[in-house]
Amino acid sequence: MRIDRTRDLGPYVEKEGDDRIICRCEEVTQGEIRKAVHDGMFTLTEVRRYLRCGMGLCQGQTCGKLVRGIIARELGEKPSELEPATSRSPMRPTEMHVWANEETNEEGA
């Protein structure tokens, strides 16, 4: 997907609701997400790595769609025009000691 990096979004200007928490797990606010876009984070993945929103215990289950909407609005795009976030294992948070019990023999389970 092509991403136009030449866009000038202008400076970040605070607006109503910016102190509202969007990512409940990592406590990331609307303002922080909007500011990240002005800092040049144009995709869900970039914002996620920049702010950790969607990287907490729930793995973006709750805020994913909200974050997508905020980034899109800031870029003046439709949410569907954004590069979608990646999906990878594990789908649910899993303790390291459980991964240590990963079945390795061919007979298992």
Partner: protein
């Protein structure tokens, strides 16, 4: 690593239905579900389902769940609970967390039936304890017998918001308001009406400004919004509540499909897999059914599951193509039947002005959740005659016809087009058996006797609350809007196994109130 003919992810209505069809064809099937209980959302659905007999209409959701589960396990389907699928890898290998272990399985085919997750909206205070999802409310009251709160505000007038509001009332909670930013009620009018007549006010074109409270919710402020969803200053209304319930839509949980490399459609509000009629994705052997493939009702999900189950069996040679296709086509027809009417997927977001019969839609129903007195008479189910007769306040074309089957005297007819509004068959006599009242999933049928002498009339209504009124009890009759209109005396209370927990309460009211009184409140 264990191998199966078919691995199904999700033991909800679509997953279990797919398992049944595949197991019937002698396939070796496992269903993994991350929850401690199977059935997906079915066990939280305590209302009677819409549809026709073939769609398990008028059976309550949790009973359908029990039936599906029994059918699947009787056929030898292995349903593994507390089993979280962590990922799908090439060649249909999956990794599953079970207890403190991570196990690998391989399927010759995989059906993903992971369902949907709730959407959220944000407002000041939305992270406070006491702000909960509608699904959470259902889990608490219908699975665990815990009241989600005592005074509750519901945000969302889609079927989830309406159905859960009604369930909250059944659980003994007070619903102080039903609020939606949309200008019109989103769900079935009959679901709205059964909430409205108990006295719950509807606030359309309103949304939440903020939740109050320091450690938990103590109140909520709503305000009207304009056509651009901006608050209109000066329209704020405050309610003392301990709980705010959010029912603002669902999104498919499609991440596993994406990880598996299935082609996704990102053009809508949520990512969905690109699938054919049978649920087949772009990756051979991987199918998607139910809400994960697009949000619909549970009745549709069950048929989609059956269709994929048949096709998977064909794909792996467990079913002859010709025989399977015949069965498949029957399900296509059934699914098509469910996708008719005003709430069909193709009508989503559209405002329908007239019924299929050409009658103007009740505007008041869309704006306030109940049909106004001056609108109700224009619908075909509403007629006047001597003696007891059904009045069917069914005003929107929904694919549903249990009332027709329920009447032993064939007084009620829907006809071959299942979305028709029901009407009375002239010449056939109502015997006041009450089966129509109890069978109507929308609780929209009343038995009326317009003149019982002494200037009185009688109204028989469906009643699914406790305590059940008793004969001789006095109170107020409430209008469709839930406002007291007159004194009422309970003259008869009927409960029967055939009514399936819908009790029939008959009240005596002044004659001129017979078309207004639609609920009873003891005083």
């Amino acid at each position: 690593m264990k191998r199966y003919d078919l691995i199904i992810i999700g033991a909800g209505p679509s997953g279990l239905s797919a398992a049944i069809e595949a197991a019937k064809r002698k396939m070796n099937v496992v269903v993994f579900d991350e929850n401690a209980r199977p059935g997906g959302q079915l066990f939280k659905q305590i209302h009677k389902f819409f549809g026709s007999k073939e769609h398990k209409a008028k059976i309550r959701g949790f009973v359908i769940g029990e039936q599906l589960l029994k059918e699947a396990t009787d056929l030898g389907v292995d349903v593994e609970l507390d089993s979280t699928v962590m990922g799908i890898y090439p060649n249909r290998e999956i990794v599953v967390r079970q207890g403190d272990h991570v196990n690998h399985f391989k399927g010759d085919s995989i059906i993903v039936a992971t369902g949907a997750a709730e959407n959220m909206v944000t407002f000041d205070g939305w992270t406070l304890p006491g702000v909960i999802g509608a699904g959470a409310a259902q889990t608490m009251m219908n699975l665990h017998g815990i009241k989600p709160g005592n005074k509750i505000l519901m945000l969302g007038s889609g079927n989830v918001g309406l159905v859960v509001s009604y369930q909250l009332l059944q659980a003994g909670c007070e619903v102080v308001a039903l609020v939606d930013a949309a200008p019109r009620v989103g769900g079935y009018g009959v679901h709205a009406s059964k909430v409205a007549r108990t006295g719950v006010p509807f606030y359309l074109s309103h949304t939440i400004v903020k939740a109050d409270g320091t450690d938990h919710v103590t109140g909520v402020t709503i305000a009207e919004v304009d056509s651009k969803f901006q608050f209109i200053p000066g329209t704020e209304k405050h309610f003392d509540v301990d709980t705010i319930c959010l029912a603002v839509g669902l999104s498919p949980m499609s991440q596993l499909l994406k990880m598996a490399g299935c082609e996704m459609d990102n053009s809508g509000p949520a990512e969905v897999p690109v699938i054919d009629e049978s649920g087949a994705t772009s990756v051979p052997g991987i199918y998607a059914v139910g809400d994960v493939a697009g949000i619909e009702e549970a009745s549709s999900a069950m048929i989609e599951g059956r269709m994929a189950g048949i096709k998977v069996a064909e794909y792996l040679g467990f079913e002859e193509a010709e025989k399977g296709d015949k069965e498949f086509d029957k399900n296509v027809a059934a699914l098509d039947g469910l996708r008719q009417g005003m709430f069909a997927p193709r009508n989503r977001g559209k405002k329908i002005e007239k019924t299929e019969e050409g009658i103007d839609i009740s505007e008041n129903l869309l704006l306030h959740g109940f049909v106004a007195d001056d609108e109700i008479e224009r619908f075909p189910g509403v007629t006047h005659r001597a003696g007891v007769h059904p009045v069917m306040e069914c005003t929107q074309n929904i694919p549903c016809n249990p009332c027709e089957d329920a009447c032993p005297k064939h007084v009620i007819e829907v006809g071959s087009n299942i979305t028709n509004l029901p009407h009375i068959v002239e010449g056939n006599e109502c015997i006041d058996c009450g089966m129509c009242v109890a069978s109507c999933s929308g609780q929209a049928i009343f038995l009326i006797n317009e003149d019982t002498g002494d200037g009185k009339a009688e109204v028989t209504m469906p009643y699914e609350f406790l305590p059940l009124p008793t004969e001789g009890q006095t109170g107020k009759a409430l209008s469709r809007e839930g406002k007291p209109v007159c004194d009422a005396t309970v003259v008869r209370v009927r409960s029967s196994k055939a009514y399936d927990h819908t009790n029939l309460v008959t009240i005596s009211v002044p004659k001129d109130m017979v078309m207004k009184a639609r609920f009873f409140k003891a005083v």
